[in-house]
Amino acid sequence: MNSSRRHYLTAAAIFIAAGWLANAVVLPPSPTRAAPAAIPATALWWNWLGGLRPLGANFAWLQLQGTWARGDVAGSVALIRLATGFQPESLYFWAGGVRMLAFDLRSRSQPGADDAALRRAAGQLLEEARGWHEDNPHYWIERAGVELHAFGDVGSAGESYRRAALLPGAPYHAARLHAQLLVRQGRLQEAHDWLRRLQPTLPPDDPRAQAELVGRRIRQLERLLGRPADEPQDEL
């Protein structure tokens, strides 16, 4: 083997070893990148812009303020798609976009705008965001809010709060809201069991956990379910 060929083979070997060491051992790809099928392929193309991506997203968002104020549905949808395409890993643009479609544009849009189409667009955006933020409890909380208040779908909203509550870093209120929506669906026993399981996990000294309130609700549910109660019944 001549020295030139040996040089190029050694260089290739070093490159392969470094690439493997870096990408497989030192810093394996994040879970999102390990499941590329869940990511809209078009969104990935924006990676070509490197450091410009968040900037592009913000400029699209700025533009959106104008189209939103004018009630321009088509323009707004396009800009929401642009912003989320630029920076899909930021929940901020997904959540803001869904809220605009589900709440604001329905009230601001020009006469004749298709309300069902707006709801469909919001639902589609929520589903796409799931590919990036399935492990983020705030995504599920956002989703639950839209399902409950924009779509009036109590069952789906309750399920979304449940999924949020089960994820690490979830705020305490997600679990309480799940129980509340179970009650609204008349599923008192399930709500009771859920809160009983939740109660021992709540820190008594953290006011946000509201351990006392959860205890009160358990007792209320027990009264409603025909079990002995020691306290007056609050409205659930």
Partner: protein, 265 residues
């Protein structure tokens, strides 16, 4: 080590005198400071996100610009002006020269990142304090801005620029002209950001496509240095991120030193 330090210090000294560094630094500082003019838009909490994203974007682009531009400049200055010949005939090894030049560029990138990051941090702090005061009673007073997040974001961008500089230095050792090195250097910046797009081919793909897919995935993944995620406390582990950068910097430096041995001076 001493010779590497001497080359690094000479490279740092020569490159900080270059107009391109001063102009990039001033432009970045002005652009970051210019985000204050966005206050009249009054976006509420998104104002901070906008300023942070803009600042980090400027840092990323400025760092890449310097990593490519200054590295090409110092390497070709050394070869075309024959200071490389002088250095090598004073007992400096080619590997020491490469590490020294890279060291100088790395220092320069730090000198760019630190003041811009400090300005961005100060601006965000001032604006956040004002916004929290305006919304007293409505918000829980918890700050979005975490010093750790800002530092890790700056570190991520600096590391990314260092990996790019090392790759460009390797490129320079076999490039025939500055133009080729500059063009290909900026192309590398784009390609390294496209790592997540390099999806492995499925079972139906041919052997060539499969091998190519695997080889492309050996390239540095610049999304690992996601400054925006680091800024909001959702970035990769900084220690692993540093290790990731070190592996690539070492590999590119080694390749550059080997290639410089092959280059006819």
């Amino acid at each position: 080590m001493k010779r590497i330090g001497l080359i690094a210090s000479a490279t740092w000294r020569a490159s900080r005198h270059q107009r391109v560094f001063a102009l990039t630094l001033i432009a970045a500082l002005l652009l970051v400071a210019g985000t204050l003019w966005l206050r009249p838009f009054n976006f509420g909490s998104s104002e901070l996100k906008f300023v942070a994203d803009l600042g980090l974007g400027i840092l990323s682009l400025g760092g890449a610009f310097l990593a490519v531009g200054v590295t090409v400049q110092v390497f070709f200055d050394a070869t075309e002006n024959r200071t490389l010949h002088l250095v090598l005939t004073h007992g400096v090894r080619r590997g020491e020269f490469i590490l020294g030049q890279l060291g100088g560029v790395v220092l320069l990138l730090g000198a760019f990142t630190l003041p811009v990051l400090a300005l961005l941090w100060s601006l965000l702090w001032v604006r956040e304090t004002a916004l929290l005061a305006d919304a007293a009673g409505l918000l829980d007073g918890e700050r979005m801005l975490r010093p750790g997040g800002v530092l890790v974001a700056g570190m991520a961008l600096w590391l990314k620029a260092c990996v790019l500089a090392a790759a460009v230095l390797w490129l320079c050792t076999f490039a025939g002209s500055r133009l080729f090195a500059l063009g290909t250097g900026f192309l590398l910046f784009v390609v390294f950001h496209a790592h997540p797009m390099l999806v492995l081919p499925g079972e139906s793909a041919g052997a060539v496509a499969t091998v190519l897919g695997w080889l492309l995935r050996l390239l540095p993944d610049f999304t690992a240095f996601d400054a925006a995620a680091a800024f909001y406390g959702d970035g990769r582990d900084p220690v692993r991120m540093t290790g990731y950068a070190i592996v690539y910097v070492a590999a590119f430096s080694w390749l550059a030193a080997r290639q410089l041995h092959q280059r006819e001076l």
